[in-house]
């Protein structure tokens, strides 16, 4: 009731302000009249009566003001006034306002862009049910060079049987399957999974179902689960597909379901399970019974509800320890299992980069903030006189405070708005250059959380820095300023602050420029780095024989030789070969155990990357033969089993001796034949297959006929356009056998580019941020110098009047700025050398004290500073003495 009346009164005073004013006016007039008549009736003459009545009533306007100041309308009114005044004062110096808004937009925009990346990668949970319950289980084989290794089938069984804190463990292994129905054969990236894999993961099918226990029973019909993309493209999104049979690897297989479009397997990058798998089939039960030395299963476990991560991790480690003691296969070292949170592990490698980026953005925000504060302070200083007069005539400090706030808010809203546009552009740019390890950035959108972040940031920041000038304001004593010069020049304190800010931001941009220079140099070194092979002018394609008529070694060898002969006959082609695994490929390639011939203790087996290659492969990739010979067509299935090893393996096993003629025993799964003794016929310079920056793992190569692999990647070196080679190759394959699928047609160099992508991404980002920092700093130096020059205008006039030359006046303006910039750059160099120690891991072949980076980085900032200070100095030099004296 009362509130209703209040609201009514509020609306009345708001909507009918004129009426309320008129009422008040009339009421007071009427009261005056009444009082006057009263005095008259007491016998006072009319004039005296009026005066007495006026005296009683007091000042009518004051009463009105008093009444008004209590109304809602009044509050709105003054806010509106503040807003208009704030806007007017910003517009009065449009250049400053525009610069501030731009700085704001740059700062808020880049922070928001990075936040949206952080949001999608680190904060958004993986798209599985209760994803925080999921763990990924690794095995520590550091002894053999694999700190993060997968598990063997029996080891998965151990976890299942002994784990009490888990509701399940699922395993997956990446492979390929060939769809051989219809007109065009196609090879799909597929996953071989345990029946409970999807249940453990917490992912369900869009159509049909995923696998369930029992699907892998020996007599159960083969089943396949398809990705949304394949279902849509190859089967035109036909919902009746589920339940029908299609030909997979030549076998009729039932389609049991289709996964939703949003489903992706987001396992750790080095688990080497591609996240764009296209189909899933079941792991045969016999694969889970393979020996313990064959570690190939990527295992995901789901913790029971309420189980703590640390407890679950302890349990997994304990199981590993017990298993290692129980089974002799592990030898003296035992087994080490460890579990990590799936999401934490997936972002393990990106996290430091992202945090580094966040730090860079914070620096950038600081620079931008410092500039805005600096500009606002100089502007406030210029308006000092004006402000002081307003205080003198009675403007409350609260009102001045409010005005500063309103100005800050206007800048925030404008800057934040433009900043969002900047952020949108940056996110788009980031997504387009992101490395595969950051695939989830794709999901990055400017959603509500990010929007709220930007808004909060803009407003907080704007208000904070808009209030910076107040520190000056509240120190103001009216008398002091009025009595002083009257020119409103800044005091020494303010100048010191401004100088400090300038040094600070020059230092920060020097650090960013120097470190990004180091990163760029490292990246350049990386591109020139020798991989042990040359990927330029080489095209590759893959060919699968699964589902074809060719099954036995002899006809496959004949086919392969024939195909290579025809490919080599393409005009312009200089070398042709094939390999089971391309360098930097994501095809799973787990190390194979081998044993030197004189060694009998199986637990001392080494692990090496095993690749099956044809003659011509090493020529096509231009690998270097250190000794011995390459494989030839004379190395057949029936001839002496031979191998080529790399320099790492050769120098470790026979450091003082030639490896040629020595023998190693290959593990049973390595060549497909049991315990073969291989004679080494050649030593090849180590090829960087896995990492571009260092030599990882020893390598053994087998002749393809002695170690059959499918699919094979064909590698063609030529002098002509890659696309012409591929066109010719396609028609050759089609003539040989039209049912064979060709896929993954790519230049070999693209695999290397792919492998370098994360570092390239880091470098691009660092450079982008350094460039923004440089621009912001330049603006800042310009702003400070220009303002200083403007304030000293009358001083210059006096100097001119006393006979100073324009060059000398310009020098005054110039020198200050450049000296400060030089100090800042020196500080920056110092800090950068410390920062470079922190990013040493990111630097390839570059010392953290690589001098040119420092010279160029600091030099660039200094040049920018000189240019920025030049303009105001030049302007000061062109002042006419009279104008500068008149300026105040």
């Amino acid at each position: 009731m009362r509130n209703l009346a209040r609201v009514r009164a509020m609306f009345r005073s708001l909507l009918r302000r004129k009426q309320v004013e008129r009422d008040l006016d009339e009421e007071l007039r009427s009261a005056l009249q009444e009082l006057r008549e009263r005095y008259e009736s007491r016998g006072l003459p009319p004039e005296a009566a009026l005066r007495a009545a006026q005296l009683d009533l007091g000042h009518i306007d004051l009463i009105k003001e008093e009444v008004r100041s209590r109304g809602v309308a009044h509050t709105l009114d003054t806010s509106w006034q503040d807003l208009r005044q704030g806007w007017r004062s910003l517009v009065r110096t449009p250049a400053v306002a525009a610069v501030i808004v731009l700085i704001f937009a740059g700062g808020v925009g880049s922070a928001t862009a990075i936040f949206s990346v952080v949001n999608s990668l680190l904060l958004d949970p993986l798209p599985y049910q209760s994803a925080d319950r999921l763990l990924f289980v690794w095995q520590d084989l550091t002894r053999a060079g694999y700190p993060r290794a997968p598990l063997a089938g029996p080891e998965l069984e151990d976890l299942r049987q002994r784990g009490t804190l888990f509701s399940g463990f699922g395993g997956i292994w990446a492979n390929t399957v060939a769809l051989t129905d219809g007109t065009e054969p196609e090879l799909l990236r597929s996953g071989l999974v345990t029946p409970d894999f999807f249940e453990v993961l917490g992912a369900t099918a869009m159509l049909g179902r995923t696998f369930r226990p029992g699907d892998d029973a020996p007599q159960a019909p083969p089943a396949i689960l398809l990705s949304h993309a394949v279902w849509k493209r190859r089967y035109s999104a036909d919902p009746r597909l589920v339940g029908t049979r299609i030909l997979v690897n030549g076998r009729p297989t039932t389609v049991i379901g289709v996964m939703p479009e949003s489903f992706a397997l987001l396992l750790p990058q080095d688990a080497a399970i591609p996240d764009d798998q296209q189909a899933w089939v079941l792991l045969g039960r016999n694969m889970l019974k393979l020996p313990r030395q064959q570690q190939f299963l990527r295992v995901v476990g789901r913790m029971k509800p309420d189980v703590q991560l640390a407890d679950a991790q302890r349990e997994v480690a304990a199981i590993g320890e017990r298993v290692g003691r129980e089974f002799p296969e592990y030898g003296r070292d035992g087994a080490k299992f460890y579990a990590v949170g799936l999401q934490a592990d997936a972002t393990r490698e990106i996290r430091p980069a992202l945090l580094g980026l966040f730090a860079a953005v914070c620096l950038l925000l600081l620079i931008a903030g410092v500039n805005v504060a600096g500009l606002l302070i100089t502007r406030a200083t210029a308006r000092h006189h004006d402000t002081v007069i307003r205080i003198a005539v009675g403007a409350g400090r609260a009102r001045l405070f409010r005005q500063c706030l309103v100005e800050g808010l206007i800048l925030s809203v404008l800057g934040g708005g433009v900043g969002l546009l900047v952020a949108r552009g940056m996110v788009t740019a980031l997504v387009s250059v992101r490395p595969p390890a950051l695939a989830r950035i794709d999901a990055t959108t400017l959603e509500m959380r990010v929007f709220a972040f930007a808004a909060l940031l803009a407003i907080l920041w704007g208000v904070l820095f808009a209030l910076a000038p107040l520190t000056q304001l509240f120190r103001t004593t009216v008398l002091g300023v009025l009595r002083g010069s009257g020119h409103g020049t800044a005091g020494p304190a303010a100048n010191r602050i401004r100088s400090g800010l300038l040094v600070f931001q020059v230092a920060i941009s020097s650090v960013l420029l120097i470190t990004s220079g180091l990163l760029a140099k490292g990246f350049y070194e990386l591109q020139r780095a020798s991989y042990g092979f040359n990927p330029e002018h080489v095209v590759t394609f893959k060919l699968s024989l699964a589902g074809s008529r060719l099954r036995d070694p002899a006809p496959i060898a004949v086919f392969s030789t024939e195909l290579r002969r025809k490919l080599a006959a393409i005009p312009g082609v200089t070398a042709v070969g094939a390999t089971s695994h391309l360098p930097f490929d994501t095809v799973p390639n787990w190390g194979s155990p081998y044993l030197p011939a004189h060694e009998s203790d199986e637990t001392r087996a080494g692990l090496a990357d095993a690749r099956s290659i044809t003659p011509g492969y090493f020529n096509a990739v231009k690998a270097e033969l250190v000794e011995g010979r390459w494989f030839t067509d004379a190395d057949t299935y029936d001839s002496l089993p031979v191998a080529i090893v790399d320099t790492l393996l050769a120098s470790r096993l026979w450091p003082n001796d030639s490896a040629i003629g020595k023998q190693v025993k290959a593990g049973p799964a390595t060549t497909g034949r049991t315990d073969v003794m291989l004679t080494i016929v050649g030593v090849v310079r180590h090829l960087r297959h896995r990492e571009v920056t260092r030599d990882v793992r020893e390598q053994i190569y087998f002749p393809a006929p002695q170690s059959l692999r499918n699919p094979m990647a064909y590698v063609i070196r030529s002098d002509i356009e890659g696309s012409d080679v591929i066109a010719a190759a396609r028609s050759i394959v089609a003539k040989l056998d039209p049912t064979l699928p060709i896929y993954d047609v790519r230049p070999l160099a693209s695999y290397a580019v792919h492998a370098r992508a994360t570092r390239g991404f880091t470098m691009v980002l660092a450079l982008a941020f350094a460039a923004s920092a440089l621009i912001l700093t330049t603006i800042g130096i310009y702003g400070v110098t220009a303002n200083n020059a403007a304030q000293r205008c009358s001083e210059f006039g006096v100097r001119y009047a006393l006979g100073a030359q324009p060059r000398q006046v310009a020098g005054l303006v110039f020198r200050d700025a450049v000296v400060l910039a030089a100090v800042g750059a020196a500080v920056g160099c110092f800090v950068a050398s410390a920062a470079a120690q922190l990013i040493r891991m990111q630097l390839y072949n570059v010392g953290p004290n690589y001098l040119p980076a420092y010279v160029v980085g600091a030099g660039t900032v200094l040049i920018a500073a000189v240019l920025a200070a030049w303009i105001p100095a030049w302007r000061a030099a062109r002042l006419s003495p009279l104008d500068s004296l008149r300026a105040n």
């Binding site: 509020m10 009261a31 000042h59």
Partner: protein
């Protein structure tokens, strides 16, 4: 004396106005007259504080102002106590009683 009392009793203007209007609708000058009359000129509320107070009370919804006529036939804004105002008056009366008892105790204490 009067001016000192006004100083001291600034907060009680509302109570005085509400109490006066409880006796019947009145216009501005008549309210001041009535207060002066009852308190035998102890409290003289100047128009300078009367009118702002009236408008504040109206904005709070305690009283209602309408254009009407004074007994002398003059056009004036006549104020009436609203239901909310009556309740508020009760609250302020109790407050005042508490204050005056407390003040009395302070003054009588040895």
């Amino acid at each position: 004396m009067a001016s000192r009392s006004t100083e001291l009793l600034k907060g009680t203007v509302d109570l005085l106005i509400l109490r006066t209007l409880e006796l019947g609708p009145r216009h501005g000058v008549a309210i001041a007259d009535r207060i002066a009359q009852i308190t035998r000129n102890a409290f003289v509320i100047k128009p300078g504080s009367l009118f702002p107070a009236l408008h504040r009370l109206e904005a709070e919804g305690f009283i209602l102002g309408r254009w009407g006529e004074t007994p002398e036939g003059r056009r004036a804004r006549v104020y009436t106590l609203s239901g909310a105002g009556r309740k508020q008056l009760g609250i302020e009366k109790r407050n005042w009683a508490r204050i005056s008892v407390a003040m009395g105790q302070v003054l009588e204490a040895e």
